[in-house]
Symmetry: D2
Subunit: 325 residues, 4 copies
Amino acid sequence: MINNIKVGIVGGAGYTGGELLRILIHHPLVDIVFVHSSSNAGNKVFEVHTDLLGDTDLVFSSHFNAPIDVLFMCVGHGDAKKFLEANPEFLNNNHLKIIDLSQDFRTETNAFVYGLPELKRDKIKAATRIANPGCFATAIQLSLLPLASKHLLKDEIHIAATTGSTGAGQSLAATSHFTWRNNNLSVYKAFEHQHLKEITQSIVSLEPNFNQSINFIPYRGAFARGIMASVYTKSDLSLQQAKALYQTYYASHPFTHISDKNIDLKQVVNTNKCILYVEKNGNNLLLLSIIDNLAKGASGQAVQNMNLIFGLEETTGLKLKPVGF
Amino acid sequence: MINNIKVGIVGGAGYTGGELLRILIHHPLVDIVFVHSSSNAGNKVFEVHTDLLGDTDLVFSSHFNAPIDVLFMCVGHGDAKKFLEANPEFLNNNHLKIIDLSQDFRTETNAFVYGLPELKRDKIKAATRIANPGCFATAIQLSLLPLASKHLLKDEIHIAATTGSTGAGQSLAATSHFTWRNNNLSVYKAFEHQHLKEITQSIVSLEPNFNQSINFIPYRGAFARGIMASVYTKSDLSLQQAKALYQTYYASHPFTHISDKNIDLKQVVNTNKCILYVEKNGNNLLLLSIIDNLAKGASGQAVQNMNLIFGLEETTGLKLKPVGF
Amino acid sequence: MINNIKVGIVGGAGYTGGELLRILIHHPLVDIVFVHSSSNAGNKVFEVHTDLLGDTDLVFSSHFNAPIDVLFMCVGHGDAKKFLEANPEFLNNNHLKIIDLSQDFRTETNAFVYGLPELKRDKIKAATRIANPGCFATAIQLSLLPLASKHLLKDEIHIAATTGSTGAGQSLAATSHFTWRNNNLSVYKAFEHQHLKEITQSIVSLEPNFNQSINFIPYRGAFARGIMASVYTKSDLSLQQAKALYQTYYASHPFTHISDKNIDLKQVVNTNKCILYVEKNGNNLLLLSIIDNLAKGASGQAVQNMNLIFGLEETTGLKLKPVGF
Amino acid sequence: MINNIKVGIVGGAGYTGGELLRILIHHPLVDIVFVHSSSNAGNKVFEVHTDLLGDTDLVFSSHFNAPIDVLFMCVGHGDAKKFLEANPEFLNNNHLKIIDLSQDFRTETNAFVYGLPELKRDKIKAATRIANPGCFATAIQLSLLPLASKHLLKDEIHIAATTGSTGAGQSLAATSHFTWRNNNLSVYKAFEHQHLKEITQSIVSLEPNFNQSINFIPYRGAFARGIMASVYTKSDLSLQQAKALYQTYYASHPFTHISDKNIDLKQVVNTNKCILYVEKNGNNLLLLSIIDNLAKGASGQAVQNMNLIFGLEETTGLKLKPVGF
């Protein structure tokens, strides 16, 4: 690649927009052409994402400067579809790559490729439109893909997963009020979380006969970043076989790792990594899966997809320093 | 006292209203006659203050049942004055005691007694209208009253104090969003916090010649309950003299204690206590002061004032189990 | 009851000992005769449990003052048995009631009654030795007892439950280091938590044919107090039937409540309550259960048992102000 | 520079060692030759710093591989001096650069240059031995250097500053126990913190006649990373003059920025930045200063010093993605 990738962002004032900016401003092969925000047009980016003071002088724009090579859509669920309908020049431009972080195009009854590199890396490389996966969906799928790839999901799947507050976005709400959420824990959308659709779609794409229940209890946790999922199902695999399966499946994937030791959420915060831990108890195979919901669960994975589309090393600009604590 | 005290509450759906209810429903000598809330009339109290499920079947009312012996006003700053103007029957009722938790009547140019028992216990006992002190104001005054009482505040006073998120009330705001406030720290209203007025008023009432600056840096902390203040000023007192002064001043006050060891905020959370710690370094006399902003800093102190007015033991209903952790 | 209950405590310097003291010092019908601590003999209680400064002048003792009516054992797991062997005068005293908070006597192959009032209130009233339930065990059993009582547990049970850091006790450990645990989440002892024994024992006592797996994933949460469990199993009951079953089962139990609305952990912190929430999705019956691990999960329940043994109102001294936030 | 810088680290298993590794493994011009740890020799680095799983295969060594260009010492206070005495080959090697993160050489009565680039960039560039500043000392000095440079510190200085738990290091202690520290706040070493020495030394180096008191109240905060300091002193400067002074002083320094708006701690977490905010109230000039204690307050600044010594761009490897939340 001779020239830098020219990037446009819509919805740049929200959480995924901010995280995308945090990553892209230090990406060595990217030029940010515009960051669109209807609510913040004219304001400096660091006035909204205040941790970027000193890192960038970008200003939110009210229009779409051209030309760009790739458009990231960081608008709310439902708004991505509306945006593209209202601005047909983007979908009409066959040279333009589009990476949508909303859930609007994740069900593959359209021209968008589901952007989970550990599942569809080759298709992503050839794609022009990407539907970036959901955060819970990423953590959970990465714990199940190796089994599905060998048609080994033969029983019900039981999942508890906890998300940080950034998963709920920037808008003020009772369940994101500090006084309420601090030191608290709660369950929502039990068995009915919207990410179950894309999870099932991916499993069935690998294991077409899969027709088991996926029982998913989502939790709201008292932390800002991260998702931990515990996932178990009955399996005939020994622990050794299971670990070998996971090691093999992810051997060529630079961001997903199998830990020999038990894991904890903060190992991945502020990184694009997913770390998995495999345990066997009786006939239960347990997978623990951790990601940063804003990075691998959203904007980091979006950049990973961009790297793949443009033929860059998959990890370019994504070797992020973990926060650790 | 033969009959229980008949209590009415206005503004019962907010934080101080909720805390007042948590205390009063177990107070052995109180009957709650009504809990008024314009926004929640008809709802059960435990539907708003959900931790009271199982403790009370009270329902928020839209009107003011009579008769009552005491009215607690837990409405916002500015609204207490408006409420009393719009409902003149309360101020016109000379038999009715009124305890206002807002700041509307704290400047004593009116008929309200400033309800800090450690300063004005005898006046409170004889009062019919009480202006309950502010939370920062309570923590800071309790660290200074003994010195002021002996006319020993002779130099500038330097204060840093940090409040929990409940101090900002129930309304949603950027600075009370969990994602923002978690693990964060920030300064606001430096040198200009509105509680400086009532602090100065109290000091001058004890030490009329006091004319020094009170430099107060208020912080927002990443916890829900509590205030810790560090307060220092130059003093000729030895450590021993200072401790003796504080021990003597508070000897008859059941909620304010001097600790021989260094203190930490959680020692007082969920109690009506104030704990003080005294240190001397060179000519600097340092006072650390901790309270629970909703209890001793608001609703607990309001009940303490009620106890005093009605001739009860000051601690009745206020021997609260600390949360400790 | 004419005379107060005379109480002795061994292991008073630990977390459950401290919590027991927080409750008992304000219990209206108790005299604390001694608080034994080998490590802290001679120290004031408030020097260890520093939030009790101003509440008590008790001193840890190195010996066992007599006479007492009830002995609370707050020592570590394994140490309760050793203590009673080394001090045979306690077990030999038939007039003495013993309430053990460790797990040493919870398997009922001995003279101890398992002290879960919602399961064995009548036996507890007649007992002289009580094995107080574990914290996870309490939260989980209360979510299952109504079903077991009607022999309706017919399928596997799936549990995820998260405990606060106080569940791990006072000793310093890597997993209780603030830097590590803050904003973190982790799984431990998956499928193998020691409380599964007492849970199974109680279920089988109600539903003798129960032989299903209980799959329990315990989590360490980033908060100090509380346990939330999500528990589901297949059931033919409608939501209405399930709620009616739970309402009926707990109608006479003053601390366990069914919420019509979804719940969150902080509703019960610093109380002796358990709040349950029932949901039905497809054939899955979901129970959410919340307790304070140190109160209903340990010392509060121990006092509840004491109240029952001595014929007091079950709630005496246990109407605790929730911390709420 | 043609060859990468060859780096050796001693004390690599502690917090500053881990943070140094997090930064250096992605530094484009560094080869890590050895990471010494007496306690962890033979273990993989990611077994201790578990967030580095997938980022590095480095193994802790028990010996010092040669040759290296620079030695980072991340051992405890007092141990750096002992280490160099026990291993004289390091100090005897005139070609070797040494950067010590302990406080052992910060008082400049030795051959070590105090490594605060905003104060001594030119000396650092020419140095072979660097004493890296303390974390509180960095935050506080950066708020005062511009005034001292113009001899404008003419009155007492009043400081409250709060540190995260990582400032206390990895060892387990009562004040770093999660149960204790969560939601808590406490003061320690009031007026006596050891960093006052290096702060005074730097101020006097710029303003030799400075002889005022620096009153410093250090706080322990309930977060893992970061320091916020509020610093005020009397000043004749207008707000505009003060801001201009700070803007000018830091114009050429890439990591220290002046914010026009009020700031909060998380703006700098996981970055090497210091952000300052200037306010004027009456004759009080207030400076707020925020840094990440492990980055700009320790390991990030150490790498900044390395960059300067070896003639690299000062920001090389230090454009870190902020965690933001």
